[in-house]
Structures are given as structure tokens and as C-alpha cells.
Symmetry: C2
Subunit: 408 residues, 2 copies
Amino acid sequence: MALIVQKYGGTSVGSVERIQKVAERVQATRGQGHDVVVVVSAMSGETNRLIDLAHQVSPQPDPREYDVLVSTGEQVTIALLAMALNARGCRARSFTGGQVHIRTDSAHTKARIVEIDEARVRRELEAGTVVVVAGFQGVDEDGNITTLGRGGSDTTAVALAAALGADECQIFTDVDGVYTTDPRVEPNARRLDRITFEEMLEMASLGSKVLQIRAVEFAGKYSVPLRVLSSFEEGPGTLITYEEEDMEQPVISGIAFNRDEAQLSVRGVPDRPGVAWHILGPVGEANIEVDMIIQNVGADGTTDFTFTVHRNDYERARAILEDTARRLEAREVAGDNRIVKISLVGVGMRSHAGIASRMFEALANEGINIRMISTSEIKISVVVEEKYLELGVRALHAAFGLDQAPAA
Amino acid sequence: MALIVQKYGGTSVGSVERIQKVAERVQATRGQGHDVVVVVSAMSGETNRLIDLAHQVSPQPDPREYDVLVSTGEQVTIALLAMALNARGCRARSFTGGQVHIRTDSAHTKARIVEIDEARVRRELEAGTVVVVAGFQGVDEDGNITTLGRGGSDTTAVALAAALGADECQIFTDVDGVYTTDPRVEPNARRLDRITFEEMLEMASLGSKVLQIRAVEFAGKYSVPLRVLSSFEEGPGTLITYEEEDMEQPVISGIAFNRDEAQLSVRGVPDRPGVAWHILGPVGEANIEVDMIIQNVGADGTTDFTFTVHRNDYERARAILEDTARRLEAREVAGDNRIVKISLVGVGMRSHAGIASRMFEALANEGINIRMISTSEIKISVVVEEKYLELGVRALHAAFGLDQAPAA
């Protein structure tokens, strides 16, 4: 008998019929003798309906009141799910974030969980009750309702699992696990049975939108075993593990990619101390986030400086850069918003040499020109022309044998 | 500078535009230098939408979860109203029932307020904040969300006014006050400037649906000055006062009526002790509420027993009565579901003789036959055929000079 925290997102509880399906699954877990805590999001569409109402009242709604408003979305779901469970003879009680003492800071609309007093939940579990908790919300020190920001329900689930010392935190989504890469790009993509937290973080931040990054970080920090499963199909999903566990890690776990990138370069910048700061300072001040950064020193005492931004910020960033280039007396500004980033992710890189050259070779064999390279301990990212995305992903998927399950 | 509690019902906050209107009015009150607490209901239609959802999940939804669900309706309104107020520069904060410690018993869906810890509200008022409170809801001793039942927002407003010692509790509705009778029946009906609590109770229980009976009782118990006003028009409304105040009471304040009545009689019941109990016991056990009751002893040692029930319960009550009549060896059962009750209400009756005979004379002059009579200290009710409702109400309205304002 284990203690399981299950989280169901908005599409999983998007209608009364789906809520009944979730109730069925929760009851089945309970029937296996486990204690169950369920965290749910608002029914899909409900949060947007509430936000629309807020914006009809005021273009910039008061953040405290915004939280009071949107937190009703999850409250509706917890009540309906607890009703559905009780109706099928599975004793359940619903709780808002405040009722189970999910204490956050006071940063309305993007609050962070400070502590959870799990005593109330534990009391209910001991009484044999399924505890249904509203995700995404808490209360601050003064009892004001706060929300954690979009996707915060994952964080609620992980935080509750950590506070309760749960045996597993199961995140039910509309995919049945984490894949070696996006199956829409590479049909041979394979569901991973396991992935490490670090790899998951890299995959998530690169656009595999299975899990919220904050939730994964939280789970890693408190060593909560996390599993991603499908709400709609049976299956074991993907378990997110610690590297320390005694298992053979595959060298490469997956290939992430990001279509939203744009590249900007300033060429021929007189190479003086502070160049990077002079170039990126004004970009940051304009609230534009910078992803990859590369600087090369040329032979003639000038330097080339290249970075990537979100495609939506491309025009704005370019205008700022033109201005900066004039001030720095740089030769020219160049840019391209038709580029993508492809990344190999795998903790095995740490102990295996030659991964990068194998990657570059695989791309070269397909005639794909690499525009930028950036590496971290468990990731190698390249920027290539947009048109090469599918070809590049498939070439790497094959080159690293990702369509084959790793040998035991 | 006074402390005013204002309550706005579902139609008054039924759209974003109406919420803006309410904000305007609240700001105006604040602008006069008053401290303001606002209690609001769910936007009209919202509670029904939520109840529909509940019934889609389960024909008999768990009452605790039902309360968690429907209480979100008011939470949406408080957030939107507080946003609207802040957006127009009027500092406001919203609070759920639980947040301002409206403690109730645990009778879900029909809880009663046990106490209010008004410290939080007072602290906010002292800071110059308009306090916006969700009506209709509270929490029990264990922190479970409860609701007070339909119309409970009036009770919330009155209870808060009592706890805070407010100078006035203003109930905004879609009518501009309490009338001498329903203007749809008697176009000469006149808005009353004042009415006593007792009269208001009689008017409310007789179908003048301006205020919830429980709220009026509560106001009377704690001497809360209550005023009924229109959300949509300017005007002084009707003040509900204590009789003790030194003012000349009009003899008759108004004429109430009830179209939902049906009459049942058992005739020729052998007159033995316990007849009333034998007849009404089975009716009560079937959960049928009885309104007027009359028993006459005949000359032949039998008695006639007559009572009224809600029209919806007529067939059921009649079937029970046929059964009872056989057991008691009564002569016959008779009934009529096309009757109405008309009542004169006025605290002046206590000190004025001859009201009843003037009433009967006015009805006789119109050829209206009286089927039942029942009196209390401040009320005389008659049952007449349904077709005489309008004629009877107008005749009495004229006979007691209700279309004229009382002499000062």
C-alpha cells in the first residue's frame, strides 16, 4: 500500500464525462489499496472564460482580485470530482488550496509555495478518504488567495507529494509519457520508460511541454518520484528518476527542438572589455529574453557577437541592435528569423566522449549547415536553418539509435 | 460619517455593465464619507449553471461538495466588483465567507450563521477600504465551506451589519421599496417610506418576495436598521423600523396575497379529542406544509376541519386525507385548488377596533364570498375564490385609503 498523488490537467477534466473517467481511475487506484491525493486544474476553457470577464471589467485587473476570480475554476473541478467519487461509493472530500494550508508568498498571479501544513490531508487519508485538492492556488500569510501562475497545478501536486512523502506523484496529461523526440516529427520516436530529472528539465525547457519546469525543479529538489501518464489510455508512462539510482543510463535520452528562435549578429565590433554588456544590456532592458549567446574573436581586433531570441521579439531586438551597433561603431547587424534549435540531451554525455563529433557528422552527412553551437554538461544544441528541422531531428534520432530500446 | 452595509442581488450584478453600475453607486456612498461593506450574490444565472453541472455528475450530489461548487458563484462576483472599484480609484478588497470568519453550523446547503468575527472587516474599514463580501456562504467549525440556502445573501448582509453595529443595512433589489400591495395587481399601490419589522415579516411570508424572511427576523433580533432600495433607480426606498420609535403608525400598512394556496376540508368528523392530530399528523409526515387551519364544531357532535396547503401539494394531500377520512369515519373530503389568500397587515390593528368588520364589509360590497378567515395580532387573512383576487385586493386597498400617504 502506497501513497499516490495524482494530478489531472484541464483537458483531462474538460467535461462532466471526463471527470467521471478520472473518478473511475482514482477509484481503481484506491481499489488497489493505495492512499490517494488528487490535484486538479480548472476545466479546460474555464480559466480563459474567467480571465475574459476580468478584462471586461478592467484592462489591468487588480492582481489580488484576479486571483480570487480565477481560483474559482479549480474549486468547481474539485467539487465535481469529489461528487463523482462519492456518487460511485468512493469516499472523497475536496479542499481548496487555503483549506489544506498551501502557504505561498504574496506575489499574486505568480506566487511561490512557501510551505504546506499537510496535517489536514493526512487526517483525511487516515480516515480512508480520497483527498481532492485544487491545484494552482494557495493563500498567503494574511489568508489572501493566491495563484501560482499557469501550469501551477503540477507544482501543487509535486509540493503536496513532497510534503506528504508520497511514494509517487503521477502527472496525467494528454500524452502517454516522455518521448525520445516529438512523434509528429519523427514517427519512430519511442516512449522512454525512464528519464532523469536533469534530462527532463532540459527537454521541458526546450519545448517538450509535458511538464512545467518549476514542477520538475521542485520534484528534483525534494526527491519526489514523478511519473507522466496519459489520462486517456492505460500504460506505465515515463518515470522521472534520479541519476544516482543504480541503472545504466543511455548515452542520449532524447532530442528536443525549438521552432520559436531567431538569430541576431553584430559583426565587426571593436573588441573592448564590456562588449557583451553593451550589446545585451539594452536588449534585456527591453524585456527581451536571450537564449544562446556566442562570441568569437576575429583576427583584426574586432569580434562577432551572435545570440538568439524568441521569434516574436525579433523585430524589436533588431531595431535595438542597429542602434547599439552605431554607437559601438560595429561593421554590421545581421539576422535570421527562419532558424531552429535542435538539442541532444543525455546525462551519459558526461562519461562518453565523442558525442559532439558524432552529432556534427550525422548533420554533415545530410548536408545540413550548422549556424551556432552551444553545449552544457548534458546537452549539445545547434542552430540550423528552419527547413532542416525534420531532416536534422530524424538523422540524429537514427544516428544515436533512439528508435531502439536500450539494452538492459 | 456612518457605517453602511449594502447588499446587491443576482440581477443587480447580472452582467459586467451592471457590476460597473454597482461600483459607481458604492463609490458614491464612499464619497459621502461613509464606511462601506458590500455583500453580493452570484451573477444571475450562475448559480443555476453550477447546479446543472452538479446534477450532471450525480442526481443527488454530496451536500458538502455542492456547497464547495455553488459558493464559487459569489466568489466570482466579489472579485469582479472589487476589480471594478479599484479600477475607478476606490480602494476595495474582496473576501469569501470563510475569509471574514462567517461561522455557520454544518447543515450544508441550508446552514445557519453562528457567529461572525468582524475584526478582519473592521481592520480593512479602518484602512479606508471598501470591503466586498461574498453573500450566501460561510465555513463551519472545521473550515468546510457551507451555504445558507437560496436568498442567503440577505442574511449575510444583515448578520454583518449586526456584528459591525452598522448604521444601516441597505438591500438593493429590482424594486424600489416595499409597496402597499403588488403594483401589478393594484396600479394605485404606493411605496411605503417605512414599515415595521413585524409587518415586513408578515408581508414577506405572504409572498412579497422583496426580502428573505430569515434576514428580516435576523435584523429584528439584532435591531439592524434595514432599508430596501432599487439598484436601478435613485430613491429613498423603504426603511424597516421598530415599532417603539416615536412615530404614528398607520392602521394598515399593506395588503399581501398568495396565489399558491389550495384548500382541503374533512366534513362530519366525529368530534373526539385528537381529531386535529389524526388529520394533520399524516400530512406532516408526508412533508407537506400546512398554512391556515380552521376547525368548527357542528351541532350534531361532528366537526368540520379545513386547512390550506401549497398548490403543488394539493393532490398528494387530498389522497392522504381520503385515507384519513375513512379511518375516522368522517362524512366527506372536499377540496379546492383555485383559491387565494388575501391579508391585511398592520401593527395599528392592535390599538384599533373594527378593522375586521371593515374588511369583511368591503369584500361583501363587491359580492366576494369569504371561504376561510384567520387572524393574528397584526394580520387578518381571508381565503377567497381565485377569480376574486384582483377585485378583492383593489377593494381593500381603496377601503383602507392605502393609495393616500398617511397624514404626518
